[in-house]
Amino acid sequence: MTTAAGFDVAAIRKDFPILHQTVHGHPLVYLDNAASSQKPKQVIDAISRFYSSDYSNIHRGVHQLSERSTRHYEETRIKLQRFLNASDAREIIFVRGTTEAINLVAQTWGRTNLKPGDNIVITELEHHSNIVPWQMLCESTGAKLEVAPIDDTGELRMAEFERRLNARTKLVAVAHISNVLGTVLPIKEIAELAHSASARLLVDGAQAAPHMPVDVRHLDCDFYAFSSHKIFGPTGIGVLYGKAALLDAMPPYQGGGDMIQSVTFDKTTYNTLPYKFEAGTPDIAGVIGLGAAIDYVNELGINTIASYESELLTYASRALEQEPCIRIIGTAKHKAAVISFVVDGVHPHDVGTILDHQGIAVRTGHHCAQPLMERFGVPATTRASLAFYNTREEIDALIAGLRTVKELFA
Protein backbone atom coordinates (compact mmCIF):
# COMPACT_ATOMS: atom_id res chain seq x y z
CA MET A 1 0.00 0.00 0.00
CA THR A 2 1.25 3.50 -0.69
CA THR A 3 2.11 5.29 2.47
CA ALA A 4 4.02 8.39 3.30
CA ALA A 5 5.76 8.23 6.65
CA GLY A 6 3.12 7.44 9.24
CA PHE A 7 0.26 7.69 6.76
CA ASP A 8 -1.88 4.57 6.52
CA VAL A 9 -4.01 5.09 3.44
CA ALA A 10 -5.69 1.69 3.70
CA ALA A 11 -6.93 2.55 7.19
CA ILE A 12 -8.03 6.02 6.13
CA ARG A 13 -9.99 4.65 3.18
CA LYS A 14 -12.06 2.58 5.60
CA ASP A 15 -13.43 5.85 6.97
CA PHE A 16 -15.02 6.66 3.59
CA PRO A 17 -17.95 4.29 2.95
CA ILE A 18 -18.60 5.56 -0.58
CA LEU A 19 -15.16 4.52 -1.83
CA HIS A 20 -15.94 0.82 -1.42
CA GLN A 21 -18.12 0.17 -4.43
CA THR A 22 -17.80 -0.82 -8.04
CA VAL A 23 -18.81 1.37 -10.98
CA HIS A 24 -19.49 -0.35 -14.31
CA GLY A 25 -17.93 -3.47 -12.81
CA HIS A 26 -14.68 -1.79 -11.72
CA PRO A 27 -13.62 -0.56 -8.29
CA LEU A 28 -14.47 3.13 -7.97
CA VAL A 29 -11.47 5.41 -8.48
CA TYR A 30 -12.58 8.84 -7.34
CA LEU A 31 -10.37 11.56 -8.82
CA ASP A 32 -12.82 14.46 -8.83
CA ASN A 33 -11.96 15.95 -5.47
CA ALA A 34 -11.60 19.51 -6.72
CA ALA A 35 -15.27 19.44 -7.70
CA SER A 36 -16.29 17.95 -4.38
CA SER A 37 -14.71 15.56 -1.94
CA GLN A 38 -16.16 12.48 -0.23
CA LYS A 39 -17.27 12.33 3.40
CA PRO A 40 -15.78 10.20 6.17
CA LYS A 41 -18.22 8.29 8.36
CA GLN A 42 -17.20 10.61 11.22
CA VAL A 43 -18.93 13.46 9.36
CA ILE A 44 -21.94 11.38 8.29
CA ASP A 45 -22.35 10.06 11.84
CA ALA A 46 -21.98 13.50 13.43
CA ILE A 47 -24.87 14.84 11.34
CA SER A 48 -27.01 11.79 12.05
CA ARG A 49 -26.20 11.97 15.78
CA PHE A 50 -26.99 15.68 15.87
CA TYR A 51 -30.42 15.18 14.27
CA SER A 52 -31.08 12.11 16.44
CA SER A 53 -30.25 13.65 19.80
CA ASP A 54 -29.50 17.39 19.89
CA TYR A 55 -31.31 19.14 17.08
CA SER A 56 -33.26 22.32 17.61
CA ASN A 57 -33.12 25.90 16.36
CA ILE A 58 -30.27 27.98 17.74
CA HIS A 59 -29.94 31.33 19.53
CA ARG A 60 -33.62 31.29 20.43
CA GLY A 61 -34.98 28.78 22.86
CA VAL A 62 -34.32 28.62 26.57
CA HIS A 63 -34.88 24.90 26.42
CA GLN A 64 -32.25 22.20 26.68
CA LEU A 65 -32.13 21.19 22.98
CA SER A 66 -31.77 24.76 21.79
CA GLU A 67 -28.97 25.31 24.26
CA ARG A 68 -27.19 22.16 23.08
CA SER A 69 -27.60 23.04 19.42
CA THR A 70 -26.40 26.58 20.01
CA ARG A 71 -23.38 25.33 21.92
CA HIS A 72 -22.38 22.87 19.16
CA TYR A 73 -22.91 25.54 16.51
CA GLU A 74 -20.80 28.15 18.31
CA GLU A 75 -18.13 25.63 19.25
CA THR A 76 -17.73 24.93 15.55
CA ARG A 77 -17.19 28.62 14.92
CA ILE A 78 -14.28 28.48 17.39
CA LYS A 79 -12.93 25.36 15.62
CA LEU A 80 -12.94 27.32 12.37
CA GLN A 81 -11.29 30.29 14.02
CA ARG A 82 -8.45 28.02 15.16
CA PHE A 83 -8.31 26.19 11.83
CA LEU A 84 -7.68 29.48 10.02
CA ASN A 85 -5.78 31.04 12.94
CA ALA A 86 -8.16 34.01 12.96
CA SER A 87 -7.77 36.28 15.97
CA ASP A 88 -11.44 36.24 16.91
CA ALA A 89 -14.35 33.81 16.42
CA ARG A 90 -16.54 36.80 15.45
CA GLU A 91 -14.51 36.93 12.24
CA ILE A 92 -15.97 33.58 11.12
CA ILE A 93 -19.24 33.99 9.19
CA PHE A 94 -21.17 30.89 8.14
CA VAL A 95 -22.47 31.14 4.58
CA ARG A 96 -23.66 28.64 1.95
CA GLY A 97 -20.27 28.25 0.35
CA THR A 98 -17.38 30.07 -1.31
CA THR A 99 -19.69 31.55 -3.95
CA GLU A 100 -21.98 33.10 -1.36
CA ALA A 101 -19.00 34.37 0.65
CA ILE A 102 -17.64 36.22 -2.39
CA ASN A 103 -21.07 37.59 -3.28
CA LEU A 104 -21.53 38.75 0.31
CA VAL A 105 -18.31 40.77 0.16
CA ALA A 106 -19.17 42.14 -3.30
CA GLN A 107 -22.67 43.20 -2.30
CA THR A 108 -21.85 44.72 1.11
CA TRP A 109 -18.22 45.85 1.29
CA GLY A 110 -18.07 46.35 -2.48
CA ARG A 111 -21.19 48.47 -2.87
CA THR A 112 -20.12 50.62 0.08
CA ASN A 113 -16.53 51.17 -0.98
CA LEU A 114 -16.41 51.22 -4.76
CA LYS A 115 -16.95 54.33 -6.84
CA PRO A 116 -16.85 55.04 -10.57
CA GLY A 117 -13.26 54.96 -11.76
CA ASP A 118 -12.08 52.57 -9.03
CA ASN A 119 -10.79 49.18 -10.03
CA ILE A 120 -10.72 45.57 -8.87
CA VAL A 121 -7.77 43.36 -9.81
CA ILE A 122 -8.27 39.63 -10.39
CA THR A 123 -6.15 37.05 -12.25
CA GLU A 124 -6.58 35.08 -15.44
CA LEU A 125 -6.90 31.77 -13.59
CA GLU A 126 -10.00 32.58 -11.54
CA HIS A 127 -13.07 30.38 -11.24
CA HIS A 128 -16.26 32.02 -12.55
CA SER A 129 -17.33 32.56 -8.93
CA ASN A 130 -14.38 34.93 -8.46
CA ILE A 131 -15.09 36.75 -11.73
CA VAL A 132 -18.84 37.18 -12.12
CA PRO A 133 -19.63 38.75 -8.67
CA TRP A 134 -17.00 41.42 -9.43
CA GLN A 135 -18.36 42.02 -12.92
CA MET A 136 -21.80 42.52 -11.38
CA LEU A 137 -20.31 44.89 -8.81
CA CYS A 138 -18.48 46.84 -11.50
CA GLU A 139 -21.70 47.16 -13.47
CA SER A 140 -23.56 48.59 -10.50
CA THR A 141 -20.80 50.90 -9.24
CA GLY A 142 -18.97 52.01 -12.39
CA ALA A 143 -15.73 50.42 -11.21
CA LYS A 144 -13.46 48.59 -13.62
CA LEU A 145 -12.23 44.98 -13.60
CA GLU A 146 -8.53 44.48 -14.31
CA VAL A 147 -7.15 41.02 -15.11
CA ALA A 148 -3.54 40.10 -14.29
CA PRO A 149 -2.16 37.52 -16.75
CA ILE A 150 -0.46 34.19 -16.02
CA ASP A 151 2.44 32.62 -17.88
CA ASP A 152 2.47 29.37 -19.87
CA THR A 153 3.19 27.28 -16.78
CA GLY A 154 0.16 28.75 -15.02
CA GLU A 155 2.00 31.05 -12.64
CA LEU A 156 0.87 34.59 -11.99
CA ARG A 157 3.12 37.11 -13.72
CA MET A 158 3.95 39.18 -10.67
CA ALA A 159 5.35 42.20 -12.51
CA GLU A 160 2.18 42.36 -14.63
CA PHE A 161 0.08 41.97 -11.53
CA GLU A 162 1.91 44.79 -9.78
CA ARG A 163 1.54 47.02 -12.82
CA ARG A 164 -2.23 46.75 -12.51
CA LEU A 165 -2.26 48.06 -8.95
CA ASN A 166 -2.72 51.81 -8.57
CA ALA A 167 -4.27 54.45 -6.35
CA ARG A 168 -7.74 53.53 -7.64
CA THR A 169 -7.38 49.83 -6.85
CA LYS A 170 -9.80 49.05 -4.03
CA LEU A 171 -9.72 45.29 -4.07
CA VAL A 172 -7.58 42.39 -5.18
CA ALA A 173 -9.46 39.07 -5.48
CA VAL A 174 -7.46 35.91 -6.21
CA ALA A 175 -7.64 32.17 -5.84
CA HIS A 176 -5.26 30.57 -3.35
CA ILE A 177 -5.06 27.48 -5.59
CA SER A 178 -6.27 27.30 -9.20
CA ASN A 179 -9.05 24.72 -9.56
CA VAL A 180 -7.84 23.91 -13.08
CA LEU A 181 -4.04 24.25 -13.02
CA GLY A 182 -3.29 23.50 -9.38
CA THR A 183 -1.09 26.60 -9.18
CA VAL A 184 -0.56 27.81 -5.60
CA LEU A 185 -0.51 31.59 -5.64
CA PRO A 186 1.95 33.54 -3.43
CA ILE A 187 -0.77 35.04 -1.24
CA LYS A 188 1.49 36.68 1.30
CA GLU A 189 3.39 38.51 -1.42
CA ILE A 190 0.12 39.45 -3.13
CA ALA A 191 -1.20 40.78 0.20
CA GLU A 192 1.85 42.98 0.68
CA LEU A 193 1.51 44.41 -2.82
CA ALA A 194 -2.24 44.93 -2.45
CA HIS A 195 -1.86 46.62 0.92
CA SER A 196 0.92 48.88 -0.25
CA ALA A 197 -1.56 50.11 -2.86
CA SER A 198 -4.11 50.53 -0.02
CA ALA A 199 -6.30 47.86 -1.56
CA ARG A 200 -8.03 45.02 0.29
CA LEU A 201 -7.37 41.36 -0.52
CA LEU A 202 -9.99 38.63 -0.85
CA VAL A 203 -8.74 35.06 -1.24
CA ASP A 204 -10.88 32.32 -2.80
CA GLY A 205 -9.62 29.41 -0.71
CA ALA A 206 -12.03 26.76 -2.00
CA GLN A 207 -9.21 24.55 -3.33
CA ALA A 208 -6.66 25.42 -0.65
CA ALA A 209 -8.35 24.91 2.72
CA PRO A 210 -8.74 21.11 2.22
CA HIS A 211 -5.17 20.58 1.07
CA MET A 212 -2.73 22.95 2.78
CA PRO A 213 -2.37 24.88 6.03
CA VAL A 214 -4.09 28.27 5.93
CA ASP A 215 -3.12 30.97 8.42
CA VAL A 216 -5.08 34.13 7.66
CA ARG A 217 -2.99 36.24 10.02
CA HIS A 218 0.28 35.10 8.50
CA LEU A 219 -1.11 35.61 4.98
CA ASP A 220 -2.57 38.94 6.11
CA CYS A 221 -5.55 38.62 3.76
CA ASP A 222 -8.62 40.74 4.51
CA PHE A 223 -11.18 38.14 3.44
CA TYR A 224 -10.81 34.37 3.00
CA ALA A 225 -13.57 32.09 1.70
CA PHE A 226 -13.97 28.33 1.43
CA SER A 227 -16.61 25.61 1.14
CA SER A 228 -17.37 22.74 3.49
CA HIS A 229 -18.14 20.24 0.73
CA LYS A 230 -14.60 20.36 -0.63
CA ILE A 231 -13.09 19.80 2.81
CA PHE A 232 -14.90 16.50 3.41
CA GLY A 233 -17.88 18.19 5.04
CA PRO A 234 -21.52 18.47 3.89
CA THR A 235 -22.80 20.63 1.02
CA GLY A 236 -24.63 23.89 1.63
CA ILE A 237 -22.24 25.40 4.13
CA GLY A 238 -19.09 27.45 3.89
CA VAL A 239 -17.04 30.04 5.68
CA LEU A 240 -16.24 33.67 5.14
CA TYR A 241 -13.38 34.98 7.24
CA GLY A 242 -13.06 38.77 7.40
CA LYS A 243 -11.01 41.08 9.56
CA ALA A 244 -13.30 42.24 12.36
CA ALA A 245 -12.83 45.96 11.69
CA LEU A 246 -13.86 45.47 8.04
CA LEU A 247 -16.84 43.27 8.85
CA ASP A 248 -17.97 45.73 11.53
CA ALA A 249 -18.03 48.59 9.06
CA MET A 250 -19.92 46.62 6.41
CA PRO A 251 -23.70 46.83 6.03
CA PRO A 252 -25.65 43.59 6.50
CA TYR A 253 -26.05 41.23 3.53
CA GLN A 254 -29.58 39.92 4.06
CA GLY A 255 -32.26 41.10 6.47
CA GLY A 256 -34.23 38.77 8.71
CA GLY A 257 -34.22 36.99 12.02
CA ASP A 258 -31.08 36.60 14.11
CA MET A 259 -29.29 39.50 12.39
CA ILE A 260 -31.15 42.16 14.39
CA GLN A 261 -30.89 43.65 17.85
CA SER A 262 -34.28 45.33 17.87
CA VAL A 263 -36.96 45.87 15.29
CA THR A 264 -39.65 48.52 15.21
CA PHE A 265 -41.50 49.75 12.15
CA ASP A 266 -39.51 52.99 12.41
CA LYS A 267 -36.02 51.63 12.85
CA THR A 268 -34.11 48.38 13.12
CA THR A 269 -30.73 48.06 14.77
CA TYR A 270 -28.51 45.29 13.58
CA ASN A 271 -26.90 42.58 15.62
CA THR A 272 -23.18 42.47 16.30
CA LEU A 273 -20.68 40.22 14.53
CA PRO A 274 -20.94 37.53 13.37
CA TYR A 275 -24.75 37.40 13.60
CA LYS A 276 -25.21 40.55 11.52
CA PHE A 277 -24.34 38.41 8.50
CA GLU A 278 -26.30 35.28 9.43
CA ALA A 279 -29.93 36.18 8.77
CA GLY A 280 -32.51 33.45 9.23
CA THR A 281 -32.10 29.91 10.50
CA PRO A 282 -28.74 28.76 9.17
CA ASP A 283 -27.75 25.29 7.99
CA ILE A 284 -27.18 24.17 11.58
CA ALA A 285 -26.54 20.51 10.80
CA GLY A 286 -24.25 21.62 8.00
CA VAL A 287 -22.18 23.56 10.49
CA ILE A 288 -22.07 20.53 12.81
CA GLY A 289 -20.94 18.35 9.89
CA LEU A 290 -18.30 20.89 8.90
CA GLY A 291 -17.05 20.85 12.49
CA ALA A 292 -16.66 17.07 12.33
CA ALA A 293 -14.79 17.41 9.01
CA ILE A 294 -12.40 19.95 10.54
CA ASP A 295 -11.83 17.55 13.47
CA TYR A 296 -11.10 14.79 10.97
CA VAL A 297 -8.60 16.90 9.02
CA ASN A 298 -6.96 18.07 12.25
CA GLU A 299 -6.68 14.47 13.40
CA LEU A 300 -4.81 13.50 10.22
CA GLY A 301 -2.86 16.75 10.29
CA ILE A 302 -3.09 19.21 7.43
CA ASN A 303 0.70 19.17 6.97
CA THR A 304 0.69 15.38 6.73
CA ILE A 305 -2.15 15.56 4.20
CA ALA A 306 -0.25 18.15 2.16
CA SER A 307 2.96 16.13 2.05
CA TYR A 308 1.17 12.87 1.16
CA GLU A 309 -0.76 14.59 -1.62
CA SER A 310 2.42 16.21 -2.87
CA GLU A 311 4.09 12.79 -3.19
CA LEU A 312 1.06 11.47 -5.02
CA LEU A 313 1.07 14.49 -7.33
CA THR A 314 4.69 13.84 -8.25
CA TYR A 315 3.92 10.17 -8.91
CA ALA A 316 0.90 11.03 -11.07
CA SER A 317 2.61 13.83 -12.99
CA ARG A 318 5.57 11.62 -13.86
CA ALA A 319 3.31 8.80 -14.98
CA LEU A 320 1.26 11.14 -17.20
CA GLU A 321 4.34 12.81 -18.65
CA GLN A 322 5.59 9.42 -19.82
CA GLU A 323 2.43 8.81 -21.83
CA PRO A 324 2.72 9.89 -25.44
CA CYS A 325 -0.13 12.08 -26.68
CA ILE A 326 -0.86 13.48 -23.22
CA ARG A 327 -0.10 17.09 -22.40
CA ILE A 328 -0.41 18.44 -18.85
CA ILE A 329 -1.79 21.97 -18.63
CA GLY A 330 -0.47 23.78 -15.57
CA THR A 331 3.13 23.10 -14.61
CA ALA A 332 3.75 25.75 -11.96
CA LYS A 333 6.64 25.16 -9.58
CA HIS A 334 4.39 25.41 -6.54
CA LYS A 335 1.46 23.17 -7.33
CA ALA A 336 -1.33 21.37 -5.52
CA ALA A 337 -2.63 17.92 -6.48
CA VAL A 338 -4.81 19.04 -9.38
CA ILE A 339 -3.79 17.84 -12.86
CA SER A 340 -5.46 19.09 -16.00
CA PHE A 341 -4.46 17.46 -19.25
CA VAL A 342 -5.45 16.96 -22.85
CA VAL A 343 -5.20 13.78 -24.88
CA ASP A 344 -4.15 14.50 -28.48
CA GLY A 345 -7.04 14.03 -30.86
CA VAL A 346 -9.58 13.01 -28.24
CA HIS A 347 -12.12 15.41 -26.77
CA PRO A 348 -12.20 15.46 -22.94
CA HIS A 349 -15.84 14.35 -22.89
CA ASP A 350 -14.95 11.19 -24.72
CA VAL A 351 -12.03 10.68 -22.34
CA GLY A 352 -14.36 11.16 -19.37
CA THR A 353 -16.99 8.71 -20.62
CA ILE A 354 -14.44 6.00 -21.39
CA LEU A 355 -12.72 6.44 -18.01
CA ASP A 356 -16.09 6.31 -16.27
CA HIS A 357 -16.70 2.94 -17.84
CA GLN A 358 -13.60 1.74 -16.06
CA GLY A 359 -14.86 3.11 -12.75
CA ILE A 360 -12.68 6.22 -12.87
CA ALA A 361 -14.35 9.53 -11.99
CA VAL A 362 -12.64 12.60 -13.43
CA ARG A 363 -13.96 15.99 -14.37
CA THR A 364 -14.10 17.06 -17.98
CA GLY A 365 -15.10 20.42 -19.42
CA HIS A 366 -14.17 24.02 -18.79
CA HIS A 367 -14.20 23.71 -14.98
CA CYS A 368 -16.09 27.00 -14.59
CA ALA A 369 -13.02 28.80 -15.90
CA GLN A 370 -13.79 29.62 -19.55
CA PRO A 371 -11.34 32.56 -19.78
CA LEU A 372 -8.58 30.22 -18.63
CA MET A 373 -9.49 27.63 -21.29
CA GLU A 374 -9.22 30.41 -23.86
CA ARG A 375 -5.83 31.40 -22.45
CA PHE A 376 -4.52 27.89 -23.13
CA GLY A 377 -6.33 27.57 -26.44
CA VAL A 378 -8.35 24.49 -25.49
CA PRO A 379 -12.16 24.16 -25.36
CA ALA A 380 -11.93 21.90 -22.34
CA THR A 381 -9.58 19.65 -20.37
CA THR A 382 -9.73 16.42 -18.43
CA ARG A 383 -8.91 16.97 -14.77
CA ALA A 384 -7.77 14.48 -12.16
CA SER A 385 -7.82 16.05 -8.70
CA LEU A 386 -6.48 14.09 -5.76
CA ALA A 387 -7.21 13.76 -2.08
CA PHE A 388 -5.41 12.01 0.77
CA TYR A 389 -7.52 8.86 0.31
CA ASN A 390 -6.23 8.34 -3.21
CA THR A 391 -3.44 5.82 -3.86
CA ARG A 392 -0.70 5.10 -6.36
CA GLU A 393 -2.72 2.08 -7.51
CA GLU A 394 -5.52 4.46 -8.46
CA ILE A 395 -3.11 6.59 -10.48
CA ASP A 396 -2.00 3.38 -12.23
CA ALA A 397 -5.67 2.66 -13.00
CA LEU A 398 -6.00 6.14 -14.50
CA ILE A 399 -3.00 5.55 -16.74
CA ALA A 400 -4.37 2.16 -17.84
CA GLY A 401 -7.72 3.83 -18.51
CA LEU A 402 -6.08 6.48 -20.67
CA ARG A 403 -4.34 3.78 -22.68
CA THR A 404 -7.76 2.28 -23.42
CA VAL A 405 -8.91 5.71 -24.59
CA LYS A 406 -5.98 5.92 -26.98
CA GLU A 407 -6.57 2.39 -28.27
CA LEU A 408 -10.21 3.14 -28.98
CA PHE A 409 -9.38 6.36 -30.79
CA ALA A 410 -6.21 5.12 -32.50
Partner: protein, 144 residues
Amino acid sequence: MIDDLYQEVILDHGKRPRNFGPMENPTLHAEGFNPLCGDRLTLELKLDGNIVKDARFKGAGCAISVASASLMTETLKGKTREEAEKLFEKFHQMLTTDAAPGDLGKLTVFSGVKEFPARVKCATLAWHTLRAALHNANEKVSTE
Protein backbone atom coordinates in the same frame (compact mmCIF):
# COMPACT_ATOMS: atom_id res chain seq x y z
CA MET B 1 -21.13 -1.18 -22.93
CA ILE B 2 -18.72 1.46 -24.11
CA ASP B 3 -18.67 -0.11 -27.61
CA ASP B 4 -22.40 0.60 -27.99
CA LEU B 5 -21.56 4.27 -27.72
CA TYR B 6 -18.35 4.39 -29.71
CA GLN B 7 -19.35 2.33 -32.72
CA GLU B 8 -17.00 2.16 -35.71
CA VAL B 9 -19.14 4.51 -37.77
CA ILE B 10 -19.19 7.09 -34.99
CA LEU B 11 -15.44 6.89 -34.43
CA ASP B 12 -14.87 7.20 -38.17
CA HIS B 13 -17.11 10.26 -38.58
CA GLY B 14 -15.72 11.76 -35.37
CA LYS B 15 -12.20 11.56 -36.73
CA ARG B 16 -12.95 12.33 -40.38
CA PRO B 17 -16.11 14.40 -40.45
CA ARG B 18 -17.85 14.70 -43.82
CA ASN B 19 -19.18 18.04 -45.07
CA PHE B 20 -16.85 19.87 -42.74
CA GLY B 21 -15.85 23.45 -43.48
CA PRO B 22 -17.42 26.64 -44.78
CA MET B 23 -19.99 26.95 -47.58
CA GLU B 24 -20.32 29.78 -50.05
CA ASN B 25 -23.58 31.73 -49.94
CA PRO B 26 -25.63 29.49 -47.66
CA THR B 27 -29.39 29.95 -47.74
CA LEU B 28 -29.77 29.30 -44.03
CA HIS B 29 -27.41 29.02 -41.13
CA ALA B 30 -27.47 28.75 -37.36
CA GLU B 31 -25.04 28.41 -34.49
CA GLY B 32 -25.36 25.78 -31.79
CA PHE B 33 -23.76 25.99 -28.39
CA ASN B 34 -23.55 23.54 -25.51
CA PRO B 35 -22.73 25.72 -22.48
CA LEU B 36 -22.03 22.64 -20.34
CA CYS B 37 -18.95 21.67 -22.32
CA GLY B 38 -18.31 24.75 -24.44
CA ASP B 39 -18.87 22.89 -27.73
CA ARG B 40 -19.78 25.14 -30.62
CA LEU B 41 -21.14 24.30 -34.04
CA THR B 42 -22.13 26.32 -37.08
CA LEU B 43 -24.47 24.71 -39.59
CA GLU B 44 -24.95 26.03 -43.11
CA LEU B 45 -27.64 24.89 -45.53
CA LYS B 46 -28.20 25.54 -49.21
CA LEU B 47 -31.79 25.17 -50.27
CA ASP B 48 -33.26 24.89 -53.72
CA GLY B 49 -36.86 25.75 -53.18
CA ASN B 50 -37.95 23.35 -50.50
CA ILE B 51 -35.10 20.91 -50.91
CA VAL B 52 -31.79 20.79 -49.04
CA LYS B 53 -29.15 20.78 -51.75
CA ASP B 54 -26.12 20.99 -49.47
CA ALA B 55 -25.36 20.96 -45.77
CA ARG B 56 -22.02 21.72 -44.12
CA PHE B 57 -20.79 22.43 -40.61
CA LYS B 58 -17.88 23.94 -38.70
CA GLY B 59 -16.89 23.80 -35.07
CA ALA B 60 -15.22 21.72 -32.42
CA GLY B 61 -16.59 19.08 -30.14
CA CYS B 62 -16.39 15.55 -28.87
CA ALA B 63 -16.52 12.49 -31.12
CA ILE B 64 -20.26 12.09 -30.52
CA SER B 65 -21.18 15.65 -31.46
CA VAL B 66 -18.87 15.81 -34.50
CA ALA B 67 -20.04 12.41 -35.77
CA SER B 68 -23.64 13.41 -35.23
CA ALA B 69 -23.20 16.61 -37.25
CA SER B 70 -21.31 14.72 -39.95
CA LEU B 71 -23.92 12.00 -40.36
CA MET B 72 -26.74 14.53 -40.14
CA THR B 73 -25.36 16.63 -43.00
CA GLU B 74 -24.98 13.49 -45.12
CA THR B 75 -28.55 12.45 -44.42
CA LEU B 76 -30.05 15.88 -45.06
CA LYS B 77 -29.01 16.21 -48.67
CA GLY B 78 -31.96 15.80 -50.99
CA LYS B 79 -34.51 15.97 -48.18
CA THR B 80 -37.34 18.50 -48.08
CA ARG B 81 -37.70 20.87 -45.12
CA GLU B 82 -40.60 18.76 -43.86
CA GLU B 83 -38.58 15.55 -44.13
CA ALA B 84 -35.72 17.23 -42.27
CA GLU B 85 -38.11 18.23 -39.48
CA LYS B 86 -39.42 14.67 -39.29
CA LEU B 87 -35.86 13.35 -38.98
CA PHE B 88 -35.24 15.74 -36.08
CA GLU B 89 -38.34 14.42 -34.31
CA LYS B 90 -37.38 10.78 -34.84
CA PHE B 91 -33.77 11.32 -33.81
CA HIS B 92 -34.82 13.17 -30.69
CA GLN B 93 -37.32 10.44 -29.86
CA MET B 94 -34.72 7.73 -30.29
CA LEU B 95 -32.44 9.37 -27.71
CA THR B 96 -34.99 10.57 -25.20
CA THR B 97 -37.82 8.02 -25.16
CA ASP B 98 -38.19 4.28 -25.00
CA ALA B 99 -40.22 4.19 -28.20
CA ALA B 100 -38.78 2.05 -30.95
CA PRO B 101 -36.71 4.25 -33.23
CA GLY B 102 -38.42 5.01 -36.51
CA ASP B 103 -36.78 4.54 -39.86
CA LEU B 104 -33.51 6.41 -39.33
CA GLY B 105 -31.17 4.45 -41.56
CA LYS B 106 -27.54 4.84 -40.55
CA LEU B 107 -28.49 7.39 -37.89
CA THR B 108 -29.54 4.45 -35.72
CA VAL B 109 -25.85 4.06 -34.77
CA PHE B 110 -26.62 6.76 -32.21
CA SER B 111 -29.26 4.70 -30.42
CA GLY B 112 -26.61 3.62 -27.87
CA VAL B 113 -26.22 7.21 -26.70
CA LYS B 114 -29.52 6.89 -24.83
CA GLU B 115 -27.74 4.78 -22.21
CA PHE B 116 -25.35 7.69 -21.56
CA PRO B 117 -27.63 10.50 -20.33
CA ALA B 118 -24.74 12.94 -19.91
CA ARG B 119 -23.94 12.56 -23.61
CA VAL B 120 -27.41 12.91 -25.16
CA LYS B 121 -26.86 16.65 -25.62
CA CYS B 122 -23.65 15.97 -27.52
CA ALA B 123 -25.60 13.92 -30.07
CA THR B 124 -28.51 16.33 -30.35
CA LEU B 125 -26.55 19.60 -30.62
CA ALA B 126 -26.34 19.43 -34.43
CA TRP B 127 -30.03 18.58 -34.68
CA HIS B 128 -31.11 21.47 -32.45
CA THR B 129 -28.97 23.70 -34.61
CA LEU B 130 -30.69 22.34 -37.70
CA ARG B 131 -34.08 23.13 -36.28
CA ALA B 132 -32.92 26.65 -35.42
CA ALA B 133 -31.69 27.10 -38.98
CA LEU B 134 -34.99 25.89 -40.43
CA HIS B 135 -37.19 27.90 -38.06
CA ASN B 136 -35.54 31.11 -36.95
CA ALA B 137 -32.82 31.53 -39.47
CA ASN B 138 -29.48 32.87 -38.24
CA GLU B 139 -30.20 32.57 -34.56
CA LYS B 140 -27.99 31.06 -31.90
CA VAL B 141 -29.35 27.99 -30.14
CA SER B 142 -28.29 26.52 -26.83
CA THR B 143 -28.83 23.00 -25.56
CA GLU B 144 -29.61 24.37 -22.08
